[in-house]
């Protein structure tokens, strides 16, 4: 039944994608959806791009198991949008399709800035992609209820995982390479509406069980949590007393990465350019703040509701990391409203929503990286900024295919690992590699292209190396590599606290140490353009902005 509902979603989105294909002609259409989306539409799409299955299933599960501490994720994910709100208009005015347009504005035609931006965009996207696709594989085995050793209609769980990853991969490649930004945006909008509807329905049903009194729900959750009296207090998951100061630092490090990462996520930045002007961009971020805020508030009801109605024991029995909490809750709530059939229906609906969520997010990521490869690397580095438009679009479609296949390959390879840390890593990388370069480009008069390159690579490599040397990979209780292997030197699991200042340092040092002279004229030009929108690429970009 989940499969049936999901098939309906696929049929509708395929129709939209084909319609989008007919209406996609040049680069403005493929990369920026023709810049004709309204603020509200783009706001829905931003929310759709942002709310991944990791937040839907993952955060509900973390709250269900760790109580209050899970809620800290929700807060970080929302608060981050204020930074995005402050940057969105400037970036919309200064850029054309990608973050690299903003970063390279001041350095003129130096290709190394474009290359660095493309490398960072693709790396962040691929890490995030793999996490989402492995999640899709895990989700299907949970939905089909197959445990190790069991089979479902003759399919072993391993095969089911691989098949799911392949299907999701094929769909996302199709959406992106066929529909471009227009198709992908509509997929996001449909997904956001579905996700909000599903979450709201579930929240209302859960609260109705407690007479719409949240306090009563919290009490019931506390009682069935296995740690009554402590479940609602800080310290169940982060900065446990036993971990001492390292635990606290690790916790702060995660909080920093969550708050500073959002504004540097490539699939979010790419969406700034799909609206006609800066004002619409501001409106769209405001919409996104409203939707994302409402959604994360509802994760409270989902998480605590799952503990209260399903119980922690039943949740961990199904999946030790709690990812099934929202699904089990749907079944339990549906059953209490309309008997076993109701349970099945609600479970199927929420399951289909979760699949739609994964599919939409991975499409956004593939679009962001193929746009960067085609526009930044092919267009500006290989073709010296003078590619034919049709050529560039063809390259973008092809790179969507290449990145998609690569991500599917990686995901199949690591399908049995617990790769949840990759999401936090992607945020840390975006916060370290992209955010310092963006902020300094917009606000520091002396900043030059050597500084950009040093900052981007410094942040990217810094965060990857720190994670590789941390207990995430070896030497910790939950490490990926088995116990005898231990080469960890860096004590924190989250690199942000070190890698973000390090990236700023690299950017400043690169600027000051290089012999390259910053061009003050270009800086004045950029700041006028960013703040006023004069000369920005508008809806009729070819007439207004073509001169630059």
């Amino acid at each position: 039944m989940t499969i049936g509902l999901f098939a309906v979603f696929i049929v509708i989105t395929l129709g939209v994608t084909i319609w989008a294909r007919v209406n996609t002609k040049g680069t403005d259409d493929f990369y920026a959806g023709g810049r004709t989306f309204s603020g509200a539409q783009n706001g829905l799409a931003l929310a759709g791009d942002y709310m991944s299955a990791a937040s839907f299933l993952g955060i509900a599960g973390i709250i269900a198991l760790s109580g209050y501490d899970g809620f800290l994720y929700s807060i970080g994910f929302l608060v981050a949008w204020l930074l995005t709100l402050l940057l969105v208009e400037l970036m919309r005015n200064a850029g054309r399709f990608t973050m690299a347009d903003v970063l390279s504005y001041r350095g003129g035609k130096r290709p190394m800035v474009r290359t660095a931006a493309a490398v960072s965009t693709v790396t962040v996207s691929v890490f995030y992609l793999v996490a989402q696709m492995v999640g899709a594989g895990a989700l299907v085995s949970l939905l089909l209820g197959i445990h190790p050793g069991e089979t479902f209609m003759g399919i072993s769980p391993e095969a089911a995982k691989v098949i799911t990853i392949l299907v999701v991969g094929m769909m996302m490649i199709f959406y992106v390479s066929y529909g471009g930004m227009k198709g992908t945006t509509w997929v996001q909008i449909i997904k956001a509406v579905l996700l909000m509807a599903g979450t709201t329905a579930l929240t209302v049903l859960v609260l109705s069980r407690f007479g719409f009194n949240p306090s009563e729900m919290l009490g019931a959750a506390d009682a069935r949590s296995g740690k009554p009296g402590e479940f609602l207090n800080p310290g169940q998951r982060f900065a446990k007393d036993a971990d001492g100061i390292i635990g606290v630092l690790d916790f702060v490090s995660l909080a920093v990465a969550l708050v500073l990462g959002t504004a540097g996520l490539p699939h979010i930045v790419g969406r700034f350019f799909t609206v006609p002007d800066a004002r619409a961009a501001r409106t769209s971020v405001n919409w996104a703040i409203g939707l994302v805020g409402a959604f994360y508030l509802m994760t409270l009801a989902l998480g605590f509701g799952a503990t209260a109605l399903v119980g922690q024991q039943a949740i961990t029995a199904q999946d030790p990391s709690g990812n099934t909490a929202a699904l089990q809750l749907a079944q339990a709530v549906g059953e209490s409203v309309a008997g076993p059939v109701g349970g099945e229906i609600l479970l199927a609906f929420i399951g289909a929503v979760a699949f739609a969520t994964i599919l939409a997010v991975v499409s956004g990521l593939v679009l962001a990286s193929s746009t960067s490869l085609a526009h930044d690397f092919f267009g500006h580095v290989l073709m010296f900024g003078k590619p034919k438009e049709s050529q560039e679009v063809a390259v973008a479609r092809f790179s969507a295919f290449v990145i998609g296949v690569f991500a599917v390959f990686l995901a199949v390879l690591v399908r049995d690992m617990n790769v949840a840390f990759l999401v936090a890593l992607a945020f840390a990388m975006a916060a370290s590699a992209n955010l310092p370069a963006i902020v300094l480009s917009l606000f520091w008069r002396r900043f030059n292209s050597t500084g950009v390159v040093c900052g981007v690579y410094g942040g990217l490599l810094g965060s990857i190396v720190l994670v590789a040397l941390s207990p995430v990979l070896s030497g910790g209780p939950r490490s990926l590599l088995p116990p005898p292997v231990d080469f960890h030197v860096f004590p924190l699991e989250n690199p942000g606290l070190v890698s973000i200042p390090f990236a700023f340092l690299c950017a400043v040092a690169g600027t000051l140490l290089s012999r390259e002279k910053a061009d003050p004229g270009r800086y004045s030009e950029l700041s006028v353009r960013a703040l006023t929108g004069a000369g920005a690429h508008g809806q009729s970009a070819k007439n207004v902005g073509g001169g630059r």
């Binding site: 501490d69 608060v79 353009r529 004069a534």
Partner: protein, 125 residues
């Protein structure tokens, strides 16, 4: 858009005002939300007894402050948007229009020159 049109506006008094206003606004908002967010994180890490105090029924201080983070985010976004609409948008629209007019003027001059050139070439033949 000619580059010197934009760079020329950079020294304009109105642009300086716009820039100063934006910076002040941005710094206030960043300071407010980062300060409040990290205060909250610090409380979660160090003031656990305080966070565990009951506030309303089973809702403790930690959850209440968490929900207040949501409220403050909405409030700051609203504050920013209102200020931008009143104090930034009119200024930036004025400057943008001016830049557009200058460009249109330049475009007209260029076209007239080109036309004159064409006629001269034609009569010379």
């Amino acid at each position: 858009m000619q580059a010197d049109d934009l760079a020329g506006l950079a020294t304009d008094e109105r642009f300086r005002l716009l820039k100063a206003r934006f910076r002040r606004l941005a710094l206030t908002i960043v300071g407010a939300f980062l300060g409040w967010y990290f205060l909250y994180i610090a409380l979660s890490a160090f003031a656990r007894d305080f966070m565990a105090l009951p506030a309303i029924g089973n809702v403790n201080v930690a959850l209440l402050l968490g929900v207040l983070q949501f409220v403050s985010t909405f409030a700051l976004a609203w504050r920013y948007t209102r200020y931008a609409r009143r104090m930034l948008d009119p200024l930036s629209a004025e400057l943008r229009d001016e830049a557009g007019q200058r460009q249109a003027q330049r475009e007209r001059e260029r076209r007239i020159l080109a036309e004159r050139h064409r006629i001269e070439n034609w009569t010379r033949r």
